[in-house]
């Protein structure tokens, strides 16, 4: 693809860069979701929804 290194928009990002940024965002969201599930599981074991 020839146009992937062209800068688009006022940020001056290339398409490829925007894609990479977005991929990290998606990856981060997934990982944070896993942490949240793990923390909730442990919290539930310690005190099931504070009961």
């Amino acid at each position: 693809m020839a146009d992937t290194d062209e800068k688009v928009g006022p940020s001056g990002l290339t398409l490829r860069q925007a894609e990479e940024l977005h991929a990290s965002l998606v990856e981060g969201t997934r990982i944070f979701f896993c942490f949240a599930v793990f923390a909730h599981l442990l919290a539930y074991i310690y005190s099931p929804w504070l009961h």
Partner: protein, 461 residues
């Protein structure tokens, strides 16, 4: 790619560069303000270290009643990642990114993992202690949860520190590296001291709820500190097509790295010296109390004395090395200060002079400061530009594993000697054995470093 993804990607391209975390251009000069900001990642590393080794160590044993052997295992878990620092650094060296970034993605991931470990840790510890409803669950659940969160924190802090130091190496030109290294060490120490005091103050009235608040606050602080540290530091460089890819094989990269200027000898010296300066870590305070009969408050001042010695060492090393002195000679003088320092500590008991102990402790801190600063500066200067991550990773791997193993060994050797001799003088002897081993290790480090210094002298003439 689905429609939502496209939308979000458009947002990225529409945003002004002000809101994006990279430098507009790689500037050749590195102002102090920017350097100070970069060194904040060391504060978060120091905070995590003190939380694991100091605060949570105590909280688990005293407040949560976890058996101390289990606590010792949990606390040593992060050490597993120390040898992998070389690999992490190497991976960051060869990272392919559309931004031309090598360090940012790894610091980001390291931060994220450290955050994950810290947010889950308070719940894991509460489950580990068997409190609340956790006693209805099998034991392994608590063990597993705590192990996972300790491993996450360990993986995160080793990644962040390794790649952060590699980034500092990338950014700083050779002449300002002594300043950078001094700053990195001071910020690590400052992070440890300040967060130890804060954790102590906030956990004074202990409750499970308070534990959750404090540890999760430290998780949040990790993210904030690291983002501030990283913001617009690494410059964007759009990789050219058909750019030669760096060596993508760790074994080959390692082989070429150890062929560089006596790399193995350097690492060996770093390991010996670090072990020599770390073995007394958990033994100084009980030595002061048990053998010299110092009060609890005066033994606590020891930690402060050690830190002050370290700060003076970093400051002096930064000054002298900035004028172009050889960093390995600086490290060697650190080891030379260490020898009389440990001798003074040993002599304090038979001479009944606690002053010797105080001065010895100060000198240990000072010598360790010179040694640490000298070896890190030497590592940065010797690192090939395309292998900074690997070089700093190797330094960190040796340094962190050496320190961790030495602290454990110090305790074990002390206990064995104390156990084997149940006579009257055995109490002091057990400590003296460890201190003597440290002196021997220092001589070993000096012998290992001698050719490195001599060679430099010859080259400078």
């Amino acid at each position: 790619m689905n429609r939502v993804s496209r939308r979000v990607m458009n947002v990225w391209t529409e945003l002004g560069p002000r809101f994006l975390p990279f430098a507009d251009a790689a500037t050749p000069d590195l102002p102090l303000s920017r350097l100070l900001r970069l060194s904040l990642f060391q504060v978060s590393v120091g905070m995590a270290l003190v939380l694991l080794v100091g605060t949570l160590n105590r909280v688990m044993i005293v407040e949560l009643g976890v058996p101390s052997s289990l606590v010792a295992i949990m606390i040593s878990l992060p050490l597993i990642f120390a040898p992998f620092r070389a690999l992490i650094g190497f991976r960051s060296d060869i990272h392919q990114s559309a931004f031309g970034w090598r360090r940012v993605p790894y610091i980001f991931r390291g931060t994220m993992v450290q955050f994950g470990g810290l947010t889950t840790m308070p719940f894991a510890l509460l489950v580990l202690s068997g409190g609340g409803n956790a006693s209805h669950y099998p034991m392994w659940v608590g063990d597993f949860g705590a192990a996972v969160s300790f491993l996450l924190v360990g993986a995160g802090l080793h990644t962040t520190q390794t790649v952060g130091l590699a980034l500092a190496t990338d950014l700083a030109p050779t002449e300002s590296r002594p300043k950078v290294v001094g700053l990195m060490y001071v910020m690590l120490l400052a992070g440890m001291i300040v967060s130890a005091l804060l954790f102590g103050a906030f956990l004074a009235n202990f409750s499970p709820f308070r534990l959750i608040q404090v540890v999760q606050a430290s998780a949040l602080a990790t993210i904030i500190l690291n983002i501030v540290a990283l913001w617009k530091q690494e410059g964007v460089r759009i990789p050219k097509l058909h750019e030669p890819r760096p060596e993508a094989n760790f074994t080959q990269a390692w082989a070429s790295f150890v062929q560089g200027e006596r790399a193995i000898r350097r690492l060996f010296a770093i390991g010996l010296g670090t072990m020599a300066f770390s073995m007394e870590d958990v033994l100084l305070e009980p030595y002061g109390g048990q053998i010299l009969h110092l009060t609890v408050s005066s033994t606590t001042k020891l930690t402060a004395t050690l830190a002050v010695g370290g700060l003076v060492g970093f400051w002096l090393a930064s000054r002298v090395l900035s004028r172009g002195a050889d960093p390995f000679r600086m490290a060697a003088s650190g080891a030379m200060v260490g020898v009389p320092a440990f001798a003074l500590v040993i002599l304090a008991a038979p001479s009944h002079l606690p002053l010797f102990f105080g001065v010895g402790t100060l000198l240990i801190g000072f010598g360790a400061g010179l040694f640490g600063h000298g070896t890190l500066t030497a590592t940065m200067n010797a690192a090939p530009a395309d292998q900074a991550g690997l070089a700093l990773g190797a330094w960190g791997a040796v340094q962190a594993s050496g320190a961790g193993v030495a602290v454990a060994l110090g305790g074990i050797i002390h206990d064995i000697v104390a156990h084997a001799n149940d006579g009257q003088n055995s109490a002091a002897m057990a400590y003296d054995t460890v201190y003597s081993i440290e002196i021997i290790l220092l001589f070993g480090a000096l012998l290992t470093m001698a050719p490195l210094c001599v060679k430099r002298l010859a080259a400078s003439r």
